[in-house]
Amino acid sequence: MDFELTDEQELVRSTVREFAEAELAPVAGEIDRDHRFPEEVLPKMAGMNLMGMPYPEEYGGAGTDYVSYMIALEEVSRGCATTGVIMTAHTTLATFPIYKFGSQAQKDKYLSDMASGRRLGAFALTEPAAGTDAAAGTCTAIRKDNSYVLNGSKIFISNAPFAEIYIVFAKTDPDAQGTRGMSAFIVERDTPGFSVGEAEHKLGIRGSSTPPLYFTNCQVPADALLGQEGQGFKIAMQTLDGGRIGIGAQALGIAQAALDAAVAYAKERVQFGKPIASLQAIQWMIADMATSIDAARLLVYRAASNIDHGFPYSTEGAMAKLFASETATRVADRAIQIHGGYGYTESYPVERHYRDAKITELYEGTSEVQRMVIARAALR
């Protein structure tokens, strides 16, 4: 068994950390405060080949392994959790379906623009009445001659309206039972009948935009269908299997940022004549935080390594996401505790880490869903 990172993985960490500390961390507080999507950061991310890391170079990607991608996502999220979700929603949720299920023509048309970061993508599965129960969606895509006509709405779609390319799930066979009638489509932003609503006001990752989408007799060409008719649910689930590891990496970055802040503060803050870091009560909190972060990191890297080795990763990814996200929330909570009252104010970043951490327990499958996936595998 080998726990050492390769030279390239080490360099990805140090290099992305250098980038995140210089370009992301300094604006993370401001974009949170102003609920501002950090548009200016995206060309810089693209310049670093950070918007399509795991895809081959011939498709505009960086051609790295999945572990490197997760390390980069962790470091980006350590600097700015909002940028982390923009990166993973684009790289995994929006780009993977085209890479894995797209026709050659679809790959030629979209992949290099997306994997190089020139055009931003989004993934639209959730509907107002269909969250965890994604198959209950009521969006429809009815075949008409050489096109499909989309009707219905989506909610909570990360990266909209800044995205240009949307992976949209809709029922091509509304009468089919369960998961069978759903299909996936590639929809471009300027398609008539497609519009983006007002962004939600959120607890955390406030710089990321999360608005609803509306489709009103939105006509897309027949070749916008991704994969086969009826394959939509499978495409969504396979995409989310990989995406979950990414949310684990995002959670890891947030947790590490919270621990870093707590350690720095504990060494600096003096009470009863000595730094609070010398108090056992504080040391125990820090020990628990560091230990759970390390465990989460091992789970996230192991799941990613399974992808690199062609091993199954669905359960491993669910474990990584579950543990890393609950670790992030807990660690951020402890980081505020260590900061005392100051941690509750905007003068320190830990209140933001606390708000940012919570989302990782919700999107791309709630903790309850991850437990269902893990239990199903354990009880098989």
């Binding site: 030279d7 360099l11 990805v12 140090s14 290099t15 250098e18 310049g47 080949n49 790295t64 490197s68």
Partner: protein
């Protein structure tokens, strides 16, 4: 045309700790490319791109400077290849010794038109190596270089001098030390990191370079923390600025500071 960038692979003192005995403990400090050397690589890269020159990284030092990770980290910043002398006898080597080894490597590479270095090394910060290196090679040395343009044999070199700037024209090979803020080095992209592993690295034996050994041996035999200055803790207790200024001048005169 060949441009050599001499870079140092070392540890950042900010990550080191100093024990009660005054001895620096480097064990927690991670090695990396010395802080100002990416500036040198960036300036050299610009010139190399404009003149189609080959850009060769050179580093010499003790065990560790030639690991694949160290080489890839430097190469990812835009060097075409690297020539490395890794020998534990160079542990703690002085600036003159290091410069002599770098000079030997530059001669060995052959037909080098220009050597560019960083402003100072992050661990020693003596700013001596470029000058001694130039002396070894018999070339001119220019420090505080802010930009380089032109062709080999006709280089235009901008440098910062106290109170302003100068432009020099240099007709032959030279050693240039870039100023710390000559440019903002770019952070390498993910593709650069992967490509770095495919670039050639040549390891050269120190013995093969025939560098004359110095007969002098230098060792640190004593250490002390800086002497603590007596503080007067004097407060000027007035809200009137003119009065405060007068009192300050008076107090400074009394202690002989003015």
């Amino acid at each position: 045309m060949k441009i050599v960038v001499a870079y140092k692979w070392t540890s950042d003192p900010e990550e080191a700790t100093v024990g009660a005995d005054g001895v620096v403990n480097w064990s927690r400090a991670r090695p990396g490319i010395s802080t100002y050397d990416p500036v040198a690589i960036e300036v050299a890269r610009g010139l190399a791109a404009a003149t189609s020159a080959e850009l060769i990284g050179v580093t010499v030092g003790a065990k560790g400077v030639g690991t694949p990770l160290a080489a890839k980290a430097a190469l990812s910043r835009g060097l075409d290849r690297a020539v490395i002398v890794e020998d534990d006898s160079l542990k703690g080597a002085g600036q003159a010794e290091l410069a002599a080894v770098v000079a030997a490597v530059v001669r060995r590479i052959g037909d080098v038109d220009l050597v560019i270095t960083g402003d100072s090394s992050v661990d020693v910060a003596a700013k001596m190596v470029p000058t001694v290196l130039a002396g070894e090679l018999g070339w001119p040395a220019v420090a505080e270089v802010t930009d380089v343009t032109g062709q080999p044999g006709a280089l235009r070199v901008g440098r910062a001098v106290p109170g302003g700037a100068q432009v020099l024209e240099i007709s032959g090979p030279a050693v240039l030390a870039t100023s710390a803020d000559a440019t903002t080095p770019h952070v390498p992209g993910m593709k650069d990191l992967l490509a770095a592993g495919k670039k050639p690295v040549e390891h050269v034996d120190l013995a093969a370079l025939d560098v004359p050994a110095s007969s002098a041996v230098m060792t640190i035999t004593g250490r002390a923390r800086p002497a603590r200055k007596e503080r007067k803790h004097q407060l000027l207790d007035t809200s009137d600025p003119a009065e405060a200024a007068a009192e300050l001048v008076k107090a400074l005169r009394e202690v002989g500071a003015l």
